[in-house]
Amino acid sequence: MAVTALRRHFIGLAMLCSSVLAGTPVWAEEADIPRQGGTLHIALTNETDSWNPQKAVQTASYQVFTQVYGTLLRTSPDGRDLGPGLAQSYSYDESKSHLTFKLSPKATFSNGTAVTSADVKFSYSLWAGDSLYAQYYSSIKSVETPDPSTVVFILSAPDVTLLNILASANAAIVPKDFGGLSAADFWQRPISAGPFVIDAESKGQTISLKRNPHYYEPGLPYLDGIEYLVVPDENQRLLQYQNGDIDIVNSVDVGAAAQYGPDATVSALSATVNFLLIQAGSGPLADVRLRKAATLAIKHADLVAGGYSGQAQQAVSVIPQVVTGARTCGECDWGRTDLDEAKRLVAEAGYKGQPLSLAAPSDAGPELLAAQAIKPMLEAAGFSINIEAAPSLVLADRLEKGDFQMVVLNVSSQANTPSDMLGFIVSTGYLYTRADTAKAVAALQAIQSADDRGKVEAASMAFEADAYATHSTVPLAALNDIYAVSARVRGFQAPVFATYVADRLWISQ
């Protein structure tokens, strides 16, 4: 036994030396060669709400959709690049009114049938039909299918941002006529073209996915399956991670990130912005001078450095900067602090020190901490502030009714186009503050008819300039999205839009 062990150590040492001399450490070689097999356990922070992307609103649903549904295009984790998906190529005509996709000959649904242009046309009817997200596709006038592998989107206006939408899981390709099933049956267990298929589901508890043998990428996915566990409690997610029951925790809370250990978390600047929303429709803050004074009183750099555990950056625009086409305006100096100017504006507005409420959700994210940090800064400028911590449910109701004065709130862009955030801004009455939405509507229309990226950026900038002049929606911090990833998981890159495709993830031995 002793000899065998000694020999094993000696051989190991020799291999180590030779590999180091060759410039490739053994452990690196072992760790960097993807291997097939294994099941990944991923924690979801809440339950999924539907298998139908047009009806689902929970981020958790989309985190699972990206594993199950195939899309025409795919986006890189940083959201900057588009690559082939079920379509191997795309092209615009000269007028940019026809967007043509050539489907990959390998594109196949999980039941073994080929993905055809008829399936894409049928899928479009779902996206633009009874959907919560029909606005994403408003520039598509019709879809033509000249042959089974070619699909042409006829556009009412050139819309360069459409490609990013078509790369999101919302634009899932499903078989024509639901593959012969009723819609109700189909959405219980959909036929799909993503890297994984649904194996089993216990609603609100677990979702088991297994490898799709017909996946269009040869040799992928590496994993045999994914087990999603719904764990709403932050402490429980941490404990299960520490016990080795969970490999990846999606959306780690800023306050809990340090407990996972120094090397356990991966983060990336996300499409989530922490805002101070100021009521512009009624009450003392309807005076823009007071809203501007509030912005100038905030020590933005101190807030970002101390309020978010180092997991944020100073926000420079309302539309998150990670969104392709988002640009801040030249005069938008959201990070400026000028206490004297703030005091002057407060005096000029005739503010008499009546108490103002600053609300924040008591049960989610770093908003309450940010509100507590902002309170003394506003008071230094002469405001009288009461903090109100309210459950998200209560706060959402109050926002809907316009029953607030100031609120600290996180808002996320779900798709990689400025039109997503702008659409949300418009539908929420300029994020509930009752500010005039005319400029946001104009920017949205301009973006959805832009034929080049420059026009998208110009429209974004025009909206940002209006937002800066209005001072009702004050971007405080652009937040990181944090993931806890166990050491045995390889190939993970933190995504910008909270979703990632796990076809290239693998588990080391």
Partner: protein, 321 residues
């Protein structure tokens, strides 16, 4: 004899009828309270389901589908009518509530049974030791431990057990319930122990007092003088007379446990009815909240009635009072 038997069956029928009436009345009151509470709570279930990005028209359509556009009295009447036909309705996600219950009730059941068994298994020896060694060191240690446990929050006990028992040893899972019988048993240990530690202090204190009273009673002295010792003395003369108040207290605690299960399930990430009650309350999923509340209410009434029956069986004099 015939006359007596008739009396007894009449008595039983009367008691059963009374019990059912009590159950029906409790459930009706609870349904009304939960219904009113969910109506006055802030938020709109349709808006919560569809999210802030949905248009008002989409929200209105869903409100109509869910019947939320009707007047509150009509909604309540329609709910009670459906309930009378054993129709629990659908959740706001469109899933039948009966299915939501079916997928989770077994986990809650195992947790209830396990916690009850653990709490009895913990309470009896501790109470006996404490009473038997009254005012000696072991009694003081037990009474102090019981006092500490009495003031510890349930979730904190669970957290400590996970942190200092499950994680270092790996003997027990930190979350969920296992599927095979052995895994199920292993996964029940920590949540049930947590529940038992929370329940036991009151039982230990009650049983200890009763035992001390009975042990020093004249009839126990007489029994001893007649040579009755060991298990015959313990079970026939001491426990039988001391158990009454503890059983009543135990059944009351099992009643509390039905709603305390919410904390146990949340602490140990067990997807049972308790954790579902929390999720449904957040989503204002009225039908699910109502159904789970009814089940728990029925459980409370049943636990109290069973406790009552056992007390009467142990001491028939209770029935004639």
């Amino acid at each position: 004899m015939g006359f007596k038997a008739g009396n007894r069956s009449d008595h039983l029928a009367w008691r059963l009828g009374g019990w059912l009436a009590q159950l029906a009345f409790s459930i009706l009151i609870l349904v009304l309270i939960v219904f009113v509470l969910t109506q006055v709570a802030p938020g709109d279930a349709a808006r919560l389901r569809l999210g802030p990005r949905a248009s008002q028209e989409e929200v209105d359509v869903l409100r109509k589908q869910l019947g939320l556009d009707q007047n509150i009295l009509v909604q309540f009447g329609s709910y009670v009518g459906r309930l009378a036909r054993a129709d629990l309705g659908t959740s706001i996600n469109g899933e039948p509530v009966s299915e939501v219950i079916r997928q989770r009730i077994d986990k809650t059941w195992w947790l209830l049974v396990g916690t009850s068994v653990f709490s009895l298994a913990l309470s009896f020896p501790l109470a006996w030791l404490s009473a038997y060694y009254r005012d000696r060191a072991i009694d003081h240690v037990i009474r102090f431990a019981v006092l500490v446990a009495l003031f510890m929050p349930v979730f904190w006990i669970g957290f400590l057990l996970i942190r200092f028992l499950a994680l270092p040893t790996g003997w027990f899972p930190v979350a969920g319930l296992g599927s095979s019988p052995m895994e199920l048993l292993r996964s029940l240990v920590l949540p049930c122990l947590t529940g038992a530690i929370a329940m036991a202090p009151i039982l230990v204190r009650s049983l200890r007092s009763s035992l001390i009273e009975v042990i020093s009673a004249d009839y126990v002295t007489v029994a001893r003088s007649l040579g009755i010792r060991g298990s015959a003395l313990l079970f026939r003369h001491i426990l039988r007379n001391a158990l009454g108040p503890t059983i009543a207290l135990f059944s009351l605690n099992v009643g509390y446990l039905f709603f305390g299960i919410v904390i146990l399930e949340t602490t140990f990430a067990i997807h049972g009815l308790g954790s579902q009650l929390v999720t449904a309350s957040i989503k204002k999923d009225v039908n699910v909240v109502q159904a789970i509340t009814i089940i728990f209410a029925a459980g409370v009434v049943l636990a109290n009635s069973c406790g009552d029956l056992v007390v009467r069986w142990l001491d028939p004099r209770q029935g004639s009072r």
